[in-house]
């Protein structure tokens, strides 16, 4: 057996390692089951490179909600790993995910955030692509190409995609398991957010940039209710939520493939529009309805970088919930573009929609009084994780919370459930999944 670089006492210069050495180093230093997560994985460019290849080229990635493109011709442009894609509702009635790269010489075809177009004309030389991706026209084709250009082979690259509960996912990986299988048991909980009623996105997503590792967003989402006490202490102090430790009540659940959630319950009040009770009951299973009825909040991580949130608060004399979802879109080893959507029951009253949207702007989103304090933590942790000393000493962070606890077997939903949300079990599971992905051959 060869000595690990840590044992040899040599400085682990990640830049000089071959890919298999890097993978070996990761296997030796990241020990999720022991709660050992080394600092360098949160900012090192070599790790990021590996993540782009092993995770963002391989996994299903969320792109858009169907209600964003309800009509033929509607489209949105989105980011898929490092690449721009156009998600269209094609004139043929189908959803298409198209690489936003002109097949002539690489110009970015569509520079809009959203719109409705039958076709896209490339700004460079004017190749014209239908919203289904087919190349329809080439200026002066006969003159400049004769008969040598086969337009049928020059369509935009179409990316494999599928949907669940109105959520459109895509993957660059033709070998990936079907989306349904990839999501697995997390679907039970996604239903609470996206299938409880007919849901409608409230506008284009807001975006802002935070200098932080994307993994800090995901690990916070999947496991960290504990930080609420202090990070979001101002909210309890204002009386918007009952007490400092309110956030521990409920369950932490892991459903596999890096997906999991924190479920806050019970809630003495019903946080959803009363008049939609019938719709909820009709669309959800009795067990799911039982959870929704008592739901205070739900924070779901769909690996690698999606967060879904149902949050509720006392607002203008009412218990109001808002449902939002977001991506911790990686933009480099130490940078994310947070992309956040707000979604509401289509059949809710105008008043309810306004209240729900207003509570979302107030609490989450760029100006959200919950959200703000998180960005502060992640920026400084990411910065703190850099540097030679951490590599030399193999500095690691402590993710051991809750290792003495056993899951419960009487929770109604699927997955491994712990009672009391203060636990880092889900973070350990997330990093195990992450490690398996980045070290896969």
């Amino acid at each position: 057996m060869t000595l690990s670089i840590i044992d040899t006492g040599k400085f682990p210069r990640l830049e000089d390692m071959t890919k298999s050495e890097l993978i070996q180093h990761l296997k030796e230093t990241v020990k999720p089951e022991e709660g050992i997560i080394p600092a360098y994985i949160f900012s090192h460019p070599k790790v990021y490179e590996l993540e782009m290849e092993k995770i963002f080229l391989k996994s299903w990635l969320f792109l858009a909600h169907k209600s964003e493109i309800p009509n033929k011709g509607d489209f949105v442009t989105r980011q898929m790993g490092e690449h721009s894609v156009i998600v269209t509702h094609g004139s043929d009635g189908d959803i298409h995910v198209l690489l936003n790269v002109c097949t002539h010489r690489g110009m970015k075809l569509c520079r809009m955030d959203h719109g409705n177009e039958k076709s896209f004309v490339c700004p460079y030389h004017g190749f014209n692509f239908k919203n289904t991706g087919d190349l329809a026209g080439v200026p002066f084709q006969k003159e400049v190409y004769g008969d040598t250009l086969d337009k049928s082979k020059m369509g935009l690259k179409e990316i494999r995609h599928d949907e669940y509960a109105g959520l459109i996912f895509a993957t660059f990986n033709e070998e990936a398991v079907p989306l349904d299988e990839y999501l697995g048991d997390i679907k039970w909980y996604l239903d609470l957010a996206f299938n409880r009623a007919e849901m409608e996105v409230q506008g284009p997503p807001m975006k802002w940039v935070v200098n932080a590792s994307w993994k800090l967003g995901s690990d916070n989402t999947i496991s960290d209710s504990y930080h609420t006490l202090v990070s979001h202490g101002s909210i309890a102090k204002l009386g918007l939520v009952p007490s400092g430790d309110y956030s521990k009540y409920g369950y932490q659940i892991y459903t596999g493939n890096g997906h999991g959630l924190n479920l806050g319950m019970p809630n003495p009040h019903f946080a959803f529009p009363e008049e939609l009770t019938e719709e909820y009951k009709e669309r959800l299973s009795p067990e799911q309805w039982g959870v929704l009825e008592k739901l205070k909040n739900m924070i779901v991580c769909v690996s690698p970088h999606m967060m879904i949130l149902i949050s509720s608060m006392d607002f203008k004399g009412k218990q109001v919930s808002n449902t939002s979802f977001r991506l911790w879109q990686p933009k480099g080893p130490d940078k994310i573009e947070i992309t956040q959507w707000q979604i509401v029951e289509k059949n809710a009253t105008k008043e309810w929609k306004e209240l729900s949207n207003q509570t979302n702007s107030l609490t989450f989103g760029a100006s959200g009084i919950f959200e703000q304090d998180d960005s502060e933590n992640w920026t400084d942790i990411t910065q703190n994780s850099k540097g030679a000393y951490h590599l030399q000493e193999n500095t690691f962070f402590n993710y051991t919370q809750g290792m003495h606890k056993k899951p419960v077997d009487d929770f109604v939903g699927p997955g491994i459930a712990y009672e009391n949300k203060f636990n880092e079990a889900n973070a350990r599971a997330f990093f195990r999944n992450w490690l398996d992905q980045v070290t896969a051959e």
Binding site: G203, P204, S361
Partner: protein
């Protein structure tokens, strides 16, 4: 003519004073500048093809506040647990190109440009927020009060870590 020049001066001074209060963290005094029945909103700027339609949308609001929620935000900043602004950012609001759109004795609609520089901690990278304000001021007992502010940023993706600051 004299009347217009006086009004222009008055409104400019009001805006400078407001910037002074925010830059110096005098949030309670800032809240006093608002009319009880106020709206404070920041629609989302978007990238569109067409030049003839507004390139922002009210469907997504980065701020969607009234007196109650603005007070909440200010009260939060006063707790010692508002980490996003503990310690506070250093901000410098440059307000300019003040253009009065409409006015009568008791009401003024005014557009102005805002360039907000934000510095946090020891970071030397500048976080800038640039955009246009449209304000409606109303006169209450002889004083101008802000009844409605709409701020449209110049970035579609904001280059600041959060909006724990006011625009």
């Amino acid at each position: 003519m004299k009347e217009v020049i006086e009004l222009q001066y008055e409104i400019e001074q009001w805006l400078y004073h407001e910037a002074h209060l925010l830059d110096n963290l005098l949030f309670d005094d800032w809240l006093e500048l608002f009319d009880e029945d106020c709206r404070y909103r920041m629609p989302l700027r978007v990238n569109l093809q067409e030049k003839d339609v507004p390139d922002f949308t009210d469907d997504t609001l980065l701020f969607d506040d009234d007196m109650e929620t603005l007070t909440l935000r200010v009260d939060r900043l006063k707790t010692d647990l508002a980490w996003a602004e503990t310690p506070p950012s250093r901000t410098r609001r440059n307000v300019g190109n003040v253009r009065i759109q409409e006015y009568n004795e008791n009401q003024v609609t005014v557009k102005s440009n805002l360039l907000l520089y934000r510095s946090r901690s020891t970071e030397i990278g500048a976080e800038l927020v640039s955009g246009e304000r449209t304000d409606r001021l109303v006169k209450r007992s002889g004083k101008w009060r802000l009844q409605e502010r709409t701020f449209i940023a110049d970035q579609t993706t904001l280059g600041t870590r959060n909006l724990a600051i006011f625009v």
